[in-house]
Amino acid sequence: MKKKRMFAGLLAGALLAASLAGCGAASGSTAQPGSTASSAGAGVVEVTIPSYKTGENVGAVFFEPQVERFNQAYEGQYHITLESVPQDTFLDQMKMLAQQGELPVLVQSGDVDWLSNVVYPNGLAYDLSGWLEENPELKARLMPDGLAFCTDESGAIYSMPLATVRPTGFFWNSALWDTQEDLSAMTMEQFITAMGDQKIAFSTAENGWVAALFLTAAIAGEEGGIEWLQAGVENRIVDFSEPAFVNAIGTLQQMLQNNAAPNSIGATYADAANSFMSNQAALIANGPWMSSDFASTNSANWSNGFDGANVRAALFPGQIGIANTATYGEWFISANAAPEEIELALAFLEFINSPEEIEAYLLAEGGDAPGLTYSDGFKEEQGKTQVLADLAADTTADTTFVPCILDVIPSSVANADFGMLLPSLADGTFTPEDFAQRMTQAATEATAE
């Protein structure tokens, strides 16, 4: 009997211990993201970086080989292993790790609100200002707007400023619309007339990405629109009664009613891309990273006689490129990292911002590096990809960069309300004024203190 009781007591104790052990953090035994794992005796500093640019993600095509190139360049000294994290949950995971004080050594991106309200004020990021001062050549390659944005009042730089800008324009299928005109030199009104009844592959679901890009271009084409958008970078826009916005909504409504490809209403970005790459629409707006979709290596995703070789690209009418240069960069370093890990992270940032890597990046994903003098080999290679060459030709001193409307309004309005209101604009239930009023209402509610 006594033995039975003892056994029962042990069993209950074990149950309790097991349940608590399952809930607790095993700080001493569990490998954390970004933990150092020096190879025995070899002195190699090795870190693991969670990244969404892995596997099937479109960014993996360039990023994974880039990390491999880094590992080769620093063989015997540093080694980075990528941990694949789905893009949809990446930021949530980073937020969770930040709450636990377990951020990886190198953190890939984050939204502006999280970075400026949580990460930087709480000392979670390493200050790069001293390191950048010691590397003037590297600092010179960074975009001045980005550098200024990333520098706080005390002079600290927590986010690695960008060296490249990828102005977003639009693509058109010359097999469906064989225009020879300089589209970016037109006004928006001329562009709409020239487009006639050509179809645009809009997306209105999710955050209405394609619709938002055309709307941004339309706003920039209105008087005072550029200034209105740019002012939104500093102070999120919550009042949409601005005439430039209301007029632009009218333009978007006209496009949605006259030029939207079948299936545009309710279409996700993937649906829109599919519509474009199946010859159901002649135009789609997106960034230069879409150029890889038009390479022959991606022909498995084409249908209905679509040929990527027929695709041309341009910036938006009025020489408008959609890009926010005054923004945080893609990387920051965790302040909690060990000194040798920080050295590795700095070496990685220097590596990816070297002239060779920047050029390789631009060739793979498009864009421009204003602070870099391009090599002849780069110029030659860039010319081989038609859409990248088109965009490079359009990006001149006269180009005006504006932030996308989705980046200058409250997050929930950008990610939910905007797309939710678009169908009613498309079917004529809303006038542009109604739409603007609904956006103001949503933004006011989203920012109510």
């Binding site: 009781r5 029962a8 007591g9 209950a12 104790g13 149950l15 309790l16 349940s19 608590l20 809930c23 937020k95 930040a98 709450q99 609100d113 999280w114 309200n117 949580v118 004020p121 709480n122 209105t204 679901a205 999710e206 079948p262 299936n263 209403i265 309710g266 409250p410 997050s411 929930s412 990610n415 939910a416 309300d417 797309g419 939710m420 209101l421 678009l422 169908p423 009613s424 079917d427 239930t429 809303f430 609904r438 209402q441 949503a442 509610e445 989203a446 920012t447 109510a448 203190e449």
Partner: protein
């Protein structure tokens, strides 16, 4: 209880039973600890932080009932309450009614009932998210099967079911309306538990088929139907995937729900506001539980 009835004497456990108390408490301890950690603490935290301004990371600051004032003056919140009310009405009547009807049909085991049961159960293994995606194709204006069929009669027919009011509300409703497997299982369980002698007695008394259902079986399934209504209504309160993956709450908030507002608030780092939404969801759930319990006298036994 009649006044003349004697109050039963207080139960006194035996010495042996008292000696076993420590073991009872010891074995209960893991459950109590887990319950406290995963239920009590989060719920208390949600209640407390709903009275604060909180970004989810920095320390919350008390702001009284500001989040609740913001909620009750919000157009989207009031619309979501209206939507919830109508979804609850539909769930209580059509959804539970359909599930109960199927349970009665299966109970009488008509020809082919096994196949019917299997087919009826299959959708239950498909997630709500997958159903939402399937319905996006069913209700698609361009290639959807519904409009394709309608166009056989009217070639010019065109409706974006998920993106035009009032159809969007009904389209979202259809993603769950007829999937009442849980209701069927609960009611069928009670039907199968009805003592055979009761049915036989009713038949001897001359009850017809309908009278048997109306006066014997349905009343005896009262608790099961009440439970089904509670399950169905609480699912409506928490309904997220079906909306997020189809209309996202649109058009013009015609299908917005409380969880959609909660997630949007988190997107804006307004955890205090989001938790206020959570508290209201919790309270609405409790009210529903109480009302259904009272209406269906679920604390009374039938046998």
């Amino acid at each position: 209880m009649h006044a003349t009835e004697k109050r039963p004497a207080r139960y006194k456990p035996s010495r042996l039973q008292r000696a076993n108390y420590k073991w009872i408490y010891l074995f209960l301890l893991p459950t109590v600890v887990i319950f406290a950690m995963f239920y009590v603490v989060p719920i208390v935290e949600v209640f407390v932080t709903s009275f604060t301004k909180w970004d989810g990371f920095n320390a919350p600051s008390f702001n009284g009932v500001r989040n609740y004032i913001n909620l009750f003056t919000s157009h989207s919140f009031l619309t979501s309450l209206k939507n919830l009310f109508w979804w609850c009405v539909i769930a209580m009547t059509l959804h539970v009614g359909f599930g109960t009807l199927v349970a009665f049909v299966l109970f009488h085991r008509p020809h082919g009932w096994k196949l019917t049961r299997a087919v009826y159960m299959i959708p239950n293994v498909i997630s709500a998210a997958a159903w939402a995606m399937i319905y996006r194709f069913i209700f698609n204006d361009d290639i959807g099967i519904l409009n394709s069929l309608i166009r056989l009669l009217d070639p010019d027919f065109s409706v974006d079911w998920f993106y035009v009011s009032p159809w969007a509300f009904w389209s979202v409703t259809f993603t769950w309306l007829f999937y009442a497997v849980i209701v069927t299982l609960i009611v069928l369980g009670d039907l199968l538990n009805i003592p055979q002698e009761l049915t036989e007695a009713a038949r001897i008394d001359g009850a017809t088929g309908w009278q048997l259902i109306r006066y014997v079986q349905l009343p005896l399934c009262r608790a099961a139907i009440g439970t089904s209504i509670i399950c169905s209504l609480t699912s409506r309160i928490a309904m997220y995937e079906q909306i997020a993956l189809t209309t996202a709450g649109g058009p013009d908030y015609a299908t917005v729900s409380l969880p959609i507002l909660l997630v949007n608030a988190i997107t804006d780092y307004r955890y205090g506001y989001a938790n206020a939404v959570g508290v209201l969801m919790f309270l609405i759930g409790l009210v529903i539980l109480w009302v259904v319990n009272r209406l269906f006298r679920m604390d009374e036994t039938d046998y």
